[in-house]
Protein backbone atom coordinates (compact mmCIF):
# COMPACT_ATOMS: atom_id res chain seq x y z
CA UNK A 1 0.00 0.00 0.00
CA UNK A 2 2.59 2.53 -1.08
CA UNK A 3 2.65 4.99 -3.97
CA UNK A 4 5.79 3.32 -5.33
CA UNK A 5 3.89 0.25 -6.50
CA UNK A 6 5.38 -2.34 -8.83
CA UNK A 7 4.20 -2.08 -12.43
CA UNK A 8 1.02 -4.09 -13.10
CA UNK A 9 0.91 -6.64 -15.87
CA UNK A 10 -1.66 -6.03 -18.60
CA UNK A 11 -3.67 -9.05 -17.43
CA UNK A 12 -3.78 -7.78 -13.84
CA UNK A 13 -4.75 -4.29 -15.01
CA UNK A 14 -7.57 -5.61 -17.22
CA UNK A 15 -8.86 -7.88 -14.49
CA UNK A 16 -8.73 -5.18 -11.81
CA UNK A 17 -10.57 -2.76 -14.10
CA UNK A 18 -13.24 -5.34 -14.91
CA UNK A 19 -13.67 -6.09 -11.21
CA UNK A 20 -14.00 -2.41 -10.35
CA UNK A 21 -16.74 -2.06 -12.94
CA UNK A 22 -18.70 -4.70 -10.97
CA UNK A 23 -17.92 -3.20 -7.57
CA UNK A 24 -20.82 -0.65 -7.76
CA UNK A 25 -23.11 -3.62 -7.17
CA UNK A 26 -22.00 -3.36 -3.54
CA UNK A 27 -23.29 0.21 -3.53
CA UNK A 28 -26.54 -0.92 -5.16
CA UNK A 29 -26.95 -3.66 -2.56
CA UNK A 30 -26.40 -1.30 0.36
CA UNK A 31 -28.82 1.22 -1.20
CA UNK A 32 -31.50 -1.46 -1.51
CA UNK A 33 -30.93 -2.61 2.07
CA UNK A 34 -31.06 0.98 3.37
CA UNK A 35 -34.33 1.57 1.54
CA UNK A 36 -35.94 -1.69 2.60
CA UNK A 37 -35.07 -1.13 6.25
CA UNK A 38 -36.77 2.27 6.27
CA UNK A 39 -40.51 2.94 6.26
CA UNK A 40 -42.68 2.83 3.14
CA UNK A 41 -43.61 6.50 3.38
CA UNK A 42 -39.91 7.45 3.08
CA UNK A 43 -38.82 4.92 0.45
CA UNK A 44 -38.52 7.23 -2.56
CA UNK A 45 -36.63 9.83 -0.53
CA UNK A 46 -34.33 7.12 0.79
CA UNK A 47 -33.46 5.75 -2.64
CA UNK A 48 -33.13 9.19 -4.23
CA UNK A 49 -30.92 10.12 -1.29
CA UNK A 50 -28.69 7.13 -1.99
CA UNK A 51 -28.32 8.25 -5.59
CA UNK A 52 -27.77 11.90 -4.71
CA UNK A 53 -25.17 11.02 -2.08
CA UNK A 54 -23.19 8.91 -4.55
CA UNK A 55 -23.25 11.86 -6.98
CA UNK A 56 -22.25 14.45 -4.37
CA UNK A 57 -19.50 12.25 -2.97
CA UNK A 58 -18.04 11.65 -6.44
CA UNK A 59 -18.10 15.35 -7.38
CA UNK A 60 -16.64 16.57 -4.09
CA UNK A 61 -13.98 13.87 -4.11
CA UNK A 62 -12.96 14.91 -7.64
CA UNK A 63 -12.88 18.60 -6.67
CA UNK A 64 -11.16 18.36 -3.29
CA UNK A 65 -10.78 14.87 -1.86
CA UNK A 66 -8.59 13.31 -4.54
CA UNK A 67 -6.01 16.05 -4.05
CA UNK A 68 -5.84 15.38 -0.31
CA UNK A 69 -5.88 11.60 -0.73
CA UNK A 70 -2.85 11.86 -2.99
CA UNK A 71 -3.24 8.63 -4.95
CA UNK A 72 -2.17 10.35 -8.16
CA UNK A 73 1.43 11.59 -8.29
CA UNK A 74 1.51 15.34 -7.54
CA UNK A 75 3.17 18.02 -9.66
CA UNK A 76 6.28 17.87 -7.47
CA UNK A 77 6.29 14.09 -7.60
CA UNK A 78 6.21 14.05 -3.79
CA UNK A 79 4.28 11.48 -1.80
CA UNK A 80 2.50 13.99 0.43
CA UNK A 81 2.93 16.34 3.36
CA UNK A 82 5.41 14.90 5.83
CA UNK A 83 6.56 16.07 9.26
CA UNK A 84 9.29 14.50 11.32
CA UNK A 85 8.80 13.52 14.96
CA UNK A 86 11.06 11.26 17.05
CA UNK A 87 13.27 10.85 14.00
CA UNK A 88 10.52 9.26 11.92
CA UNK A 89 8.61 10.64 8.94
CA UNK A 90 4.85 11.02 9.46
CA UNK A 91 3.13 11.34 6.11
CA UNK A 92 -0.23 12.75 7.14
CA UNK A 93 -1.76 14.36 4.05
CA UNK A 94 -1.64 13.70 0.33
CA UNK A 95 -0.47 16.22 -2.24
CA UNK A 96 -2.09 15.08 -5.45
CA UNK A 97 -2.75 17.26 -8.49
CA UNK A 98 -5.69 19.66 -8.44
CA UNK A 99 -8.89 18.51 -10.18
CA UNK A 100 -7.45 15.14 -11.24
CA UNK A 101 -4.85 16.84 -13.45
CA UNK A 102 -2.68 14.33 -15.29
CA UNK A 103 -5.04 11.42 -14.68
CA UNK A 104 -4.77 10.10 -18.24
CA UNK A 105 -0.97 10.17 -18.12
CA UNK A 106 -0.70 8.63 -14.63
CA UNK A 107 0.61 5.08 -14.22
CA UNK A 108 -2.02 2.34 -14.63
CA UNK A 109 -1.83 1.42 -10.94
CA UNK A 110 -2.52 5.00 -9.85
CA UNK A 111 -5.52 5.25 -12.16
CA UNK A 112 -7.00 2.06 -10.73
CA UNK A 113 -6.27 3.25 -7.20
CA UNK A 114 -8.17 6.45 -7.89
CA UNK A 115 -11.14 4.59 -9.38
CA UNK A 116 -11.19 2.34 -6.30
CA UNK A 117 -11.23 5.43 -4.08
CA UNK A 118 -14.12 6.97 -6.04
CA UNK A 119 -16.22 3.87 -5.40
CA UNK A 120 -15.06 3.67 -1.79
CA UNK A 121 -16.01 7.25 -0.96
CA UNK A 122 -19.47 6.72 -2.48
CA UNK A 123 -20.09 3.65 -0.35
CA UNK A 124 -18.70 5.24 2.82
CA UNK A 125 -20.99 8.25 2.39
CA UNK A 126 -24.06 6.03 1.90
CA UNK A 127 -23.74 4.26 5.22
CA UNK A 128 -24.80 7.11 7.57
CA UNK A 129 -27.74 7.91 5.26
CA UNK A 130 -29.31 4.54 6.09
CA UNK A 131 -28.96 5.23 9.81
CA UNK A 132 -30.66 8.59 9.50
CA UNK A 133 -33.62 7.08 7.64
CA UNK A 134 -37.08 8.60 8.15
CA UNK A 135 -35.82 11.82 9.74
CA UNK A 136 -32.66 13.01 7.95
CA UNK A 137 -33.28 15.72 5.34
CA UNK A 138 -32.06 15.12 1.81
CA UNK A 139 -29.95 18.28 1.68
CA UNK A 140 -28.38 17.48 5.05
CA UNK A 141 -27.55 13.95 3.92
CA UNK A 142 -25.85 15.34 0.82
CA UNK A 143 -23.99 17.94 2.87
CA UNK A 144 -22.77 15.24 5.28
CA UNK A 145 -21.60 13.20 2.27
CA UNK A 146 -19.73 16.25 0.98
CA UNK A 147 -17.95 16.68 4.32
CA UNK A 148 -16.92 13.02 4.35
CA UNK A 149 -15.75 13.12 0.72
CA UNK A 150 -13.86 16.39 1.10
CA UNK A 151 -12.09 15.93 4.42
CA UNK A 152 -12.39 12.71 6.38
CA UNK A 153 -12.28 10.02 3.70
CA UNK A 154 -9.28 11.55 1.87
CA UNK A 155 -7.31 11.75 5.13
CA UNK A 156 -8.01 8.12 5.94
CA UNK A 157 -7.47 6.92 2.36
CA UNK A 158 -4.10 8.64 2.29
CA UNK A 159 -3.03 7.16 5.62
CA UNK A 160 -4.04 3.63 4.64
CA UNK A 161 -3.62 3.36 0.87
CA UNK A 162 -1.49 6.17 -0.52
CA UNK A 163 1.74 5.90 1.46
CA UNK A 164 0.48 7.63 4.59
CA UNK A 165 1.77 7.02 8.10
CA UNK A 166 -0.45 4.01 8.82
CA UNK A 167 0.74 2.18 5.71
CA UNK A 168 4.36 3.01 6.67
CA UNK A 169 4.18 1.49 10.16
CA UNK A 170 6.02 -1.57 8.88
CA UNK A 171 8.92 0.45 7.46
CA UNK A 172 9.19 2.99 10.28
CA UNK A 173 8.40 0.85 13.32
CA UNK A 174 8.90 -2.75 12.13
CA UNK A 175 5.20 -3.52 12.54
CA UNK A 176 4.55 -6.26 9.98
CA UNK A 177 3.57 -4.88 6.59
CA UNK A 178 2.03 -1.74 8.10
CA UNK A 179 -1.70 -1.28 8.58
CA UNK A 180 -3.47 -3.59 6.10
CA UNK A 181 -6.94 -2.91 4.74
CA UNK A 182 -7.11 -4.11 1.14
CA UNK A 183 -10.91 -4.04 0.84
CA UNK A 184 -11.71 -0.84 2.70
CA UNK A 185 -12.97 -2.18 6.02
CA UNK A 186 -11.46 0.86 7.76
CA UNK A 187 -11.63 3.53 5.07
CA UNK A 188 -15.17 2.66 4.00
CA UNK A 189 -17.04 0.68 6.61
CA UNK A 190 -15.65 1.72 9.97
CA UNK A 191 -15.66 5.33 8.74
CA UNK A 192 -19.24 4.90 7.54
CA UNK A 193 -20.34 3.18 10.75
CA UNK A 194 -18.78 5.82 13.00
CA UNK A 195 -20.32 8.55 10.84
CA UNK A 196 -23.65 6.79 11.30
CA UNK A 197 -23.16 6.95 15.07
CA UNK A 198 -22.44 10.69 14.83
CA UNK A 199 -25.55 11.25 12.67
CA UNK A 200 -27.74 9.30 15.10
CA UNK A 201 -26.37 11.18 18.10
CA UNK A 202 -27.00 14.52 16.42
CA UNK A 203 -30.35 13.83 14.71
CA UNK A 204 -31.86 11.80 17.55
CA UNK A 205 -34.26 8.86 17.24
CA UNK A 206 -37.37 8.61 15.09
CA UNK A 207 -40.51 9.98 16.67
CA UNK A 208 -42.20 7.34 18.79
CA UNK A 209 -39.18 5.03 18.83
CA UNK A 210 -38.44 5.41 22.53
CA UNK A 211 -41.65 6.07 24.50
CA UNK A 212 -41.50 7.50 27.99
CA UNK A 213 -42.34 4.16 29.51
CA UNK A 214 -41.68 0.62 28.41
CA UNK A 215 -39.42 -0.86 25.78
CA UNK A 216 -38.42 0.71 22.48
CA UNK A 217 -41.12 0.57 19.81
CA UNK A 218 -40.38 -1.83 16.95
CA UNK A 219 -40.35 0.05 13.62
CA UNK A 220 -39.62 -2.80 11.20
CA UNK A 221 -38.32 -2.26 7.69
CA UNK A 222 -41.05 -1.95 5.07
CA UNK A 223 -39.76 -4.39 2.44
CA UNK A 224 -37.94 -7.61 3.32
CA UNK A 225 -37.58 -8.42 -0.38
CA UNK A 226 -35.49 -5.28 -0.99
CA UNK A 227 -33.37 -6.13 2.03
CA UNK A 228 -32.68 -9.74 1.10
CA UNK A 229 -32.25 -9.07 -2.61
CA UNK A 230 -29.86 -6.28 -1.64
CA UNK A 231 -27.80 -8.90 0.22
CA UNK A 232 -27.54 -11.05 -2.91
CA UNK A 233 -26.56 -8.08 -5.06
CA UNK A 234 -24.03 -7.07 -2.43
CA UNK A 235 -22.29 -10.43 -2.64
CA UNK A 236 -21.40 -9.84 -6.29
CA UNK A 237 -20.18 -6.35 -5.51
CA UNK A 238 -18.18 -7.48 -2.50
CA UNK A 239 -16.47 -10.27 -4.43
CA UNK A 240 -15.41 -7.73 -7.05
CA UNK A 241 -14.39 -5.27 -4.34
CA UNK A 242 -12.19 -7.70 -2.40
CA UNK A 243 -10.49 -9.12 -5.49
CA UNK A 244 -9.83 -5.65 -6.91
CA UNK A 245 -8.49 -4.53 -3.52
CA UNK A 246 -6.12 -7.49 -3.35
CA UNK A 247 -4.79 -6.70 -6.83
CA UNK A 248 -4.44 -2.96 -6.31
CA UNK A 249 -3.33 -2.59 -2.69
CA UNK A 250 -1.59 -5.91 -1.98
CA UNK A 251 -0.29 -6.56 -5.53
CA UNK A 252 -1.56 -10.11 -5.09
CA UNK A 253 -0.72 -12.65 -7.79
CA UNK A 254 -3.64 -13.77 -9.96
CA UNK A 255 -3.37 -17.28 -8.50
CA UNK A 256 -4.24 -15.92 -5.04
CA UNK A 257 -7.58 -14.45 -6.13
CA UNK A 258 -9.77 -17.59 -5.98
CA UNK A 259 -8.90 -18.04 -2.29
CA UNK A 260 -9.86 -14.41 -1.63
CA UNK A 261 -13.21 -14.98 -3.36
CA UNK A 262 -13.85 -18.19 -1.40
CA UNK A 263 -12.96 -16.42 1.86
CA UNK A 264 -15.40 -13.61 1.09
CA UNK A 265 -18.22 -16.07 0.49
CA UNK A 266 -17.34 -18.16 3.54
CA UNK A 267 -17.23 -15.16 5.86
CA UNK A 268 -20.71 -14.00 4.79
CA UNK A 269 -22.10 -17.54 4.88
CA UNK A 270 -20.76 -18.28 8.36
CA UNK A 271 -22.15 -15.00 9.64
CA UNK A 272 -25.58 -15.76 8.20
CA UNK A 273 -25.59 -19.30 9.61
CA UNK A 274 -24.60 -18.04 13.06
CA UNK A 275 -27.27 -15.33 13.17
CA UNK A 276 -29.88 -17.69 11.74
CA UNK A 277 -29.14 -20.05 14.63
CA UNK A 278 -28.94 -17.34 17.28
CA UNK A 279 -32.25 -15.73 16.29
CA UNK A 280 -33.90 -19.15 15.89
CA UNK A 281 -32.89 -20.02 19.45
CA UNK A 282 -33.76 -16.61 20.92
CA UNK A 283 -37.02 -15.83 19.13
CA UNK A 284 -38.19 -19.27 17.99
CA UNK A 285 -37.92 -18.23 14.32
CA UNK A 286 -35.04 -16.79 12.29
CA UNK A 287 -35.19 -13.01 11.91
CA UNK A 288 -34.91 -11.90 8.25
CA UNK A 289 -33.54 -8.41 8.82
CA UNK A 290 -31.00 -9.55 11.44
CA UNK A 291 -29.89 -12.34 9.08
CA UNK A 292 -29.43 -9.72 6.35
CA UNK A 293 -27.45 -7.56 8.77
CA UNK A 294 -25.24 -10.53 9.62
CA UNK A 295 -24.65 -11.40 5.97
CA UNK A 296 -23.50 -7.84 5.36
CA UNK A 297 -21.41 -7.87 8.53
CA UNK A 298 -19.62 -11.01 7.33
CA UNK A 299 -18.93 -9.32 4.01
CA UNK A 300 -17.64 -6.20 5.76
CA UNK A 301 -15.31 -8.25 7.96
CA UNK A 302 -14.02 -10.01 4.84
CA UNK A 303 -12.98 -6.64 3.38
CA UNK A 304 -10.08 -6.48 5.79
CA UNK A 305 -8.99 -10.09 5.90
CA UNK A 306 -10.26 -12.14 2.92
CA UNK A 307 -7.00 -11.64 1.04
CA UNK A 308 -4.87 -12.38 4.11
CA UNK A 309 -6.35 -15.42 5.87
CA UNK A 310 -7.12 -19.07 5.18
CA UNK A 311 -10.65 -20.34 4.47
CA UNK A 312 -10.86 -21.85 7.97
CA UNK A 313 -9.92 -18.54 9.56
CA UNK A 314 -12.41 -16.75 7.33
CA UNK A 315 -15.16 -19.08 8.55
CA UNK A 316 -14.21 -18.28 12.15
CA UNK A 317 -14.29 -14.53 11.48
CA UNK A 318 -17.70 -14.78 9.82
CA UNK A 319 -19.04 -16.94 12.63
CA UNK A 320 -17.96 -14.39 15.26
CA UNK A 321 -19.49 -11.58 13.16
CA UNK A 322 -22.74 -13.53 13.02
CA UNK A 323 -22.82 -13.99 16.80
CA UNK A 324 -21.89 -10.38 17.60
CA UNK A 325 -24.12 -8.56 15.08
CA UNK A 326 -27.62 -9.48 16.34
CA UNK A 327 -26.56 -9.06 19.97
CA UNK A 328 -25.04 -5.65 19.27
CA UNK A 329 -28.12 -4.51 17.33
CA UNK A 330 -30.25 -5.44 20.34
CA UNK A 331 -27.94 -3.85 22.90
CA UNK A 332 -27.67 -0.60 20.92
CA UNK A 333 -31.43 -0.31 20.60
CA UNK A 334 -32.66 -1.55 23.95
CA UNK A 335 -29.84 -0.70 26.34
CA UNK A 336 -28.20 2.33 24.78
CA UNK A 337 -31.24 4.03 23.15
CA UNK A 338 -29.62 4.32 19.73
CA UNK A 339 -32.13 4.30 16.86
CA UNK A 340 -30.17 2.87 13.93
CA UNK A 341 -32.69 1.63 11.31
CA UNK A 342 -30.05 0.14 9.03
CA UNK A 343 -27.92 -1.34 11.81
CA UNK A 344 -24.89 0.47 10.40
CA UNK A 345 -23.02 0.67 13.69
CA UNK A 346 -23.24 -3.07 14.32
CA UNK A 347 -22.77 -4.08 10.69
CA UNK A 348 -20.26 -1.62 9.28
CA UNK A 349 -18.37 -0.28 12.32
CA UNK A 350 -18.24 -3.44 14.44
CA UNK A 351 -17.91 -5.79 11.44
CA UNK A 352 -15.10 -3.69 10.02
CA UNK A 353 -13.25 -3.53 13.34
CA UNK A 354 -13.58 -7.30 13.72
CA UNK A 355 -12.10 -7.86 10.26
CA UNK A 356 -9.21 -5.47 10.91
CA UNK A 357 -8.45 -7.22 14.18
CA UNK A 358 -8.62 -10.64 12.50
CA UNK A 359 -6.18 -9.49 9.83
CA UNK A 360 -3.70 -8.80 12.63
CA UNK A 361 -4.41 -11.92 14.68
CA UNK A 362 -4.06 -14.34 11.77
CA UNK A 363 -1.14 -12.56 10.08
CA UNK A 364 2.18 -14.36 9.76
CA UNK A 365 4.40 -11.26 10.06
CA UNK A 366 5.49 -10.24 13.57
CA UNK A 367 4.07 -6.92 14.70
CA UNK A 368 1.09 -7.02 12.33
CA UNK A 369 -1.40 -7.19 15.20
CA UNK A 370 0.06 -4.02 16.77
CA UNK A 371 -0.14 -2.27 13.37
CA UNK A 372 -3.82 -3.18 13.12
CA UNK A 373 -4.41 -2.03 16.72
CA UNK A 374 -2.78 1.34 15.98
CA UNK A 375 -5.06 1.70 12.95
CA UNK A 376 -8.10 0.89 15.07
CA UNK A 377 -6.89 3.44 17.65
CA UNK A 378 -6.73 6.07 14.90
CA UNK A 379 -10.26 5.24 13.77
CA UNK A 380 -11.81 5.40 17.23
CA UNK A 381 -9.64 8.07 18.79
CA UNK A 382 -9.28 10.50 15.92
CA UNK A 383 -11.84 9.80 13.21
CA UNK A 384 -14.94 9.50 15.42
CA UNK A 385 -14.36 12.79 17.32
CA UNK A 386 -13.44 14.53 14.05
CA UNK A 387 -16.57 13.31 12.26
CA UNK A 388 -18.75 14.21 15.23
CA UNK A 389 -17.25 17.72 15.38
CA UNK A 390 -17.71 18.29 11.65
CA UNK A 391 -21.29 16.98 11.66
CA UNK A 392 -22.10 18.98 14.79
CA UNK A 393 -20.91 22.16 13.07
CA UNK A 394 -22.79 21.22 9.90
CA UNK A 395 -25.96 20.67 11.90
CA UNK A 396 -25.67 24.23 13.20
CA UNK A 397 -25.71 25.53 9.62
CA UNK A 398 -28.07 23.02 8.01
CA UNK A 399 -30.34 21.16 10.42
CA UNK A 400 -30.06 17.39 10.00
CA UNK A 401 -33.52 16.57 11.23
CA UNK A 402 -36.73 17.24 9.37
CA UNK A 403 -39.47 19.21 11.18
CA UNK A 404 -42.07 17.18 13.16
CA UNK A 405 -44.71 17.60 10.46
CA UNK A 406 -42.39 16.15 7.85
CA UNK A 407 -41.72 13.17 10.04
CA UNK A 408 -45.43 12.66 10.61
CA UNK A 409 -46.48 12.64 6.95
CA UNK A 410 -43.36 10.84 5.76
CA UNK A 411 -40.24 12.02 3.99
CA UNK A 412 -41.61 11.20 0.53
CA UNK A 413 -44.54 13.58 0.71
CA UNK A 414 -42.66 16.20 2.69
CA UNK A 415 -39.49 16.36 0.59
CA UNK A 416 -40.56 15.04 -2.82
CA UNK A 417 -44.27 15.75 -2.93
CA UNK A 418 -45.17 12.18 -3.83
CA UNK A 419 -44.79 8.69 -2.41
CA UNK A 420 -42.87 5.67 -3.65
CA UNK A 421 -46.04 3.58 -3.78
CA UNK A 422 -48.85 5.90 -4.90
CA UNK A 423 -51.36 3.07 -5.36
CA UNK A 424 -50.81 1.64 -1.89
CA UNK A 425 -52.67 2.75 1.22
CA UNK A 426 -50.18 4.16 3.70
CA UNK A 427 -51.37 3.40 7.22
CA UNK A 428 -51.43 6.22 9.69
CA UNK A 429 -49.16 5.89 12.66
CA UNK A 430 -51.33 5.80 15.77
CA UNK A 431 -48.50 6.93 18.02
CA UNK A 432 -48.46 10.39 16.37
CA UNK A 433 -52.04 11.29 17.24
Amino acid sequence: MTPTAPAMTDAAFALALALLLNAPLAIAGVALINTGLGRSRSAAQALLGNLAIVAVAAIVFALVGATLAGSLPGASGGAGHVFYAAGKPWNWLGAGPFLLGGLAAAPAHSQLALLFEFLAVALAALIPWGSGADRLRLTSGCAAAAVLAAIVFPLLAHWVWAGGWLSQLGINFSLGAGFLDPGGAATVHVLGGLSALAVIWIAGPRKGKFPKEGLATALPGHNAVYILFGCIVSLVGWLAWNLAGALIWLHAPLAALPVTAVNTLLSASAALAATFTVTRIRFGKPDASLCANAWLSGLVASNACAALVTPGESLAVGFIAGIVTPLLVEVLELAVSIDDPSGAIAVHAAGGLLGLLAAGIFASQPGQLVAQLVGIAALLGLVLPLVYLLFWLLNRVLAFRVDPDGERIGMDLHELGGGAYPEFVIHRDESYR
Binding site: K88, L169, V370, L373, V374, L380, G381, P385, L389
Partner: protein, 60 residues
Protein backbone atom coordinates in the same frame (compact mmCIF):
# COMPACT_ATOMS: atom_id res chain seq x y z
CA UNK B 1 -20.82 14.35 29.36
CA UNK B 2 -20.93 13.22 25.74
CA UNK B 3 -18.41 15.90 24.78
CA UNK B 4 -16.14 14.92 27.66
CA UNK B 5 -16.12 11.36 26.40
CA UNK B 6 -15.34 12.46 22.86
CA UNK B 7 -12.48 14.60 24.17
CA UNK B 8 -10.99 11.66 26.05
CA UNK B 9 -10.85 9.51 22.92
CA UNK B 10 -8.03 11.42 21.15
CA UNK B 11 -5.99 11.08 24.36
CA UNK B 12 -6.14 7.31 23.89
CA UNK B 13 -5.00 7.69 20.30
CA UNK B 14 -1.99 9.78 21.30
CA UNK B 15 -1.14 7.22 23.98
CA UNK B 16 -1.03 4.53 21.27
CA UNK B 17 1.16 6.73 19.07
CA UNK B 18 3.46 7.53 22.00
CA UNK B 19 3.88 3.80 22.58
CA UNK B 20 5.29 3.40 19.07
CA UNK B 21 7.90 6.07 19.65
CA UNK B 22 8.81 5.36 23.27
CA UNK B 23 8.89 1.56 23.38
CA UNK B 24 10.92 -0.29 20.76
CA UNK B 25 10.46 -3.59 22.58
CA UNK B 26 7.41 -5.54 21.48
CA UNK B 27 5.67 -6.52 24.79
CA UNK B 28 5.70 -3.06 26.39
CA UNK B 29 4.74 -1.45 23.08
CA UNK B 30 1.76 -3.78 22.69
CA UNK B 31 0.71 -3.17 26.29
CA UNK B 32 0.76 0.60 25.84
CA UNK B 33 -1.13 0.44 22.56
CA UNK B 34 -3.76 -1.65 24.35
CA UNK B 35 -3.83 0.96 27.14
CA UNK B 36 -4.50 3.60 24.50
CA UNK B 37 -7.39 1.56 23.15
CA UNK B 38 -8.70 1.10 26.69
CA UNK B 39 -8.70 4.88 27.19
CA UNK B 40 -10.62 5.24 23.92
CA UNK B 41 -13.12 2.63 25.05
CA UNK B 42 -13.52 4.56 28.31
CA UNK B 43 -14.17 7.77 26.37
CA UNK B 44 -16.67 6.01 24.13
CA UNK B 45 -18.39 4.58 27.18
CA UNK B 46 -18.69 8.04 28.75
CA UNK B 47 -20.03 9.47 25.48
CA UNK B 48 -22.62 6.70 25.20
CA UNK B 49 -23.61 7.21 28.83
CA UNK B 50 -24.01 10.92 28.14
CA UNK B 51 -26.24 10.12 25.17
CA UNK B 52 -28.39 7.82 27.29
CA UNK B 53 -28.83 10.47 29.98
CA UNK B 54 -29.76 13.09 27.41
CA UNK B 55 -32.30 10.73 25.84
CA UNK B 56 -33.80 9.88 29.21
CA UNK B 57 -34.36 13.56 29.97
CA UNK B 58 -35.92 14.38 26.59
CA UNK B 59 -38.30 11.43 26.17
CA UNK B 60 -41.84 12.54 25.34
Amino acid sequence: MKYAGLLVMPAGFFLAIAALVLFPASPSRTAFVLCGLAVEALGLGVAVRGHMQARGESRP
